[in-house]
Amino acid sequence: MNAIEIRGLTKQFGSKQALAGLDMTVPQGAIYGFIGENGSGKSTTEKLICGLLVPSGGRIKLFGRDYTDADVRAKVGLLIESPGCFPNYSVWNNMLLQAANLGIKNAAEEVRKVLRIVRMEGSASNKFKNCSLGMKQRIGIAMALLGDPALLILDEPLNGLDADGMRIMREVLVDITRQYGCTVLISSHILGELEKIATHYGIIRQGRMMCEMTAEELDRSCPTYIALRGADMAGMERLLSMRYRRVEEENGDLRVYDAVAPEEVTAYLYGQGMLPAELTTAKIGLEEYYIGLMGGEVKR
């Protein structure tokens, strides 16, 4: 069963078409990285799934049921943009309110548990308004974790987190999917972090799903390359271009994308009277893959 299944979803804001027939499938237990440019429709999609916006057309199903079903919604945790907390309430009281909204019986115990998960148990008595941005994001995550959700919808949860916060977030998300089979839909612009945890990806552009793939498929789609550096970069580029089909300069490196062994490149350059100072083999990451996709030239 899929945790989220969206077919032909449309959303119109006045004359602006935010979503134009979006199809999306999030398998149960996946960490689904939802990627797209600003204004591509990521947040709109998430808000629609959460029932915060009214769709203009299309169908949304959560775990095979209608997305407005209260019983299904009780198993959804969300963090959309910012945690919705009352600024003058303490973190603890804000958490208790949400626990009560979810009808959690041992509210205090549950709140303590989720605050411990996000390492915020020491800040429970702080007023929400006095918390830093990173702390607020963690509180938002803790709030989303209340009631053992089967589906977590997180809109830019990594914003404002320091390196430690990001690491904690990563650990938490991986842990809850492995231990409790929770499905996570996460949108973020920090693709490097997303790449470390996502098992599935969906790339949205102008309100339409460009492609959906698993992490393995992405891995297969991302080519390896040989990166070279040397004293005479221009000369090296000229020589390599004569022999290999795709040679590009990126970040001060010369990259040879053709599937060749590094020894062969070294031997060729040596034969031409030139030796690189540095030679490494690498694979393009999600970020580069995505940028390439957006630019219309996917590096394969």
Binding site: Q28, L52, L53, D71, R73, A74, V76, L78, E81, T177
Partner: protein, 263 residues
């Protein structure tokens, strides 16, 4: 990785119970309601004492249309002559609470949308109808408290100002029924205020303006519906009106929430 997700059934009663508990907790742990209760307690004292002082004496106030009797701060008996006349006693009496109620309801609801709490709420278990019922109930209790505080304030203010407590054609029983009728009528105003607040959501001033504007249209009817010498029928009519409008406007508020964006 894939497992079976078990969904617990949440009944309407369970959802509403949690929601009401949360709203009561919110209403009575925030300063807003206590400020409003304080205003309702102090306002009649100030009005009665200051207008009596301005009138020179308790008896001489009649010519200026100021208070000559404590009960004028609560209502006017039908057949007393000045029921619909627009003087100070009809403008500055307990019926002001209906406008103050608009402030309480609109701030309470706008807070949900301004803080983002509505996202947490509607994104998970609570349904829009639960929200409207709970808010109506909790705001009604808060506003009823304000009404009682105004009553108490009027009594204190009247005593300080030295105004007579002469009931005239009314009786203690009819005053109780008058207060009951006024409290029941609050349900109509709370429902109107809630509808205005759900339409404009986080735009607090717009919701207060809209609620007060609609309230103004009904304001003239209040003295006739809740006279000081009210009978059981007045209370019953106000109860029925409150229930009908409460349900009708509540359904409209739920529809607004269902059909409009919440963020």
């Amino acid at each position: 990785m894939e497992g079976t997700v078990r969904f617990e059934h949440h009944t309407f009663g369970q959802r509403l119970g949690s929601m009401v508990k949360v709203d009561f907790r919110r209403m009575f742990t925030q300063p807003l309601v206590y400020i409003m209760l304080g205003v309702c307690l102090v306002l009649p004292v100030l009005i009665l004492v200051m207008t009596t002082m301005a009138g020179g004496s308790a008896g001489g106030g009649a010519a200026m249309g100021t208070f000559t009797n404590v009960w004028q701060a609560i209502g006017t008996a039908t057949g007393a002559g000045s029921g619909m006349a627009m003087d100070l006693t009809t403008m500055c009496n307990i019926n002001l609470v209906y406008f103050l109620a608009a402030v309480l309801v609109c701030v309470f609801v706008a807070d949900d949308f301004r803080s983002g709490y509505a996202k947490n709420l509607f994104g998970v278990r609570p349904q829009k109808a639960d929200y409207v019922i709970s808010k109506t109930a909790v705001c009604f209790v808060g506003c009823a408290g304000m009404m009682l505080c105004y009553f108490a304030g009027a009594m204190i203010g009247g005593a300080i100002a030295g105004l007579p407590f002469d009931l005239g054609t009314a009786s203690v029983g009819s005053v109780v029924l008058c207060m009951l009728a006024k409290i029941f009528l609050l349900a109509v105003f709370v429902a109107i205020d809630l509808l205005a607040a759900t339409i404009v959501k986080q735009r607090l001033w717009a919701s207060i303006l809209a609620a007060v504007a609609v309230g103004m249209l009904l304001f003239m009817m209040i003295p006739a519906m809740t006279p000081l010498n009210a009978t059981f029928l007045h209370a019953l009519m106000c109860f029925a009106g409150g229930a009908l409008f409460g349900v009708g406007l509540g359904a409209l508020s739920a529809l607004v929430l269902n059909k409009t964006s919440l963020v």
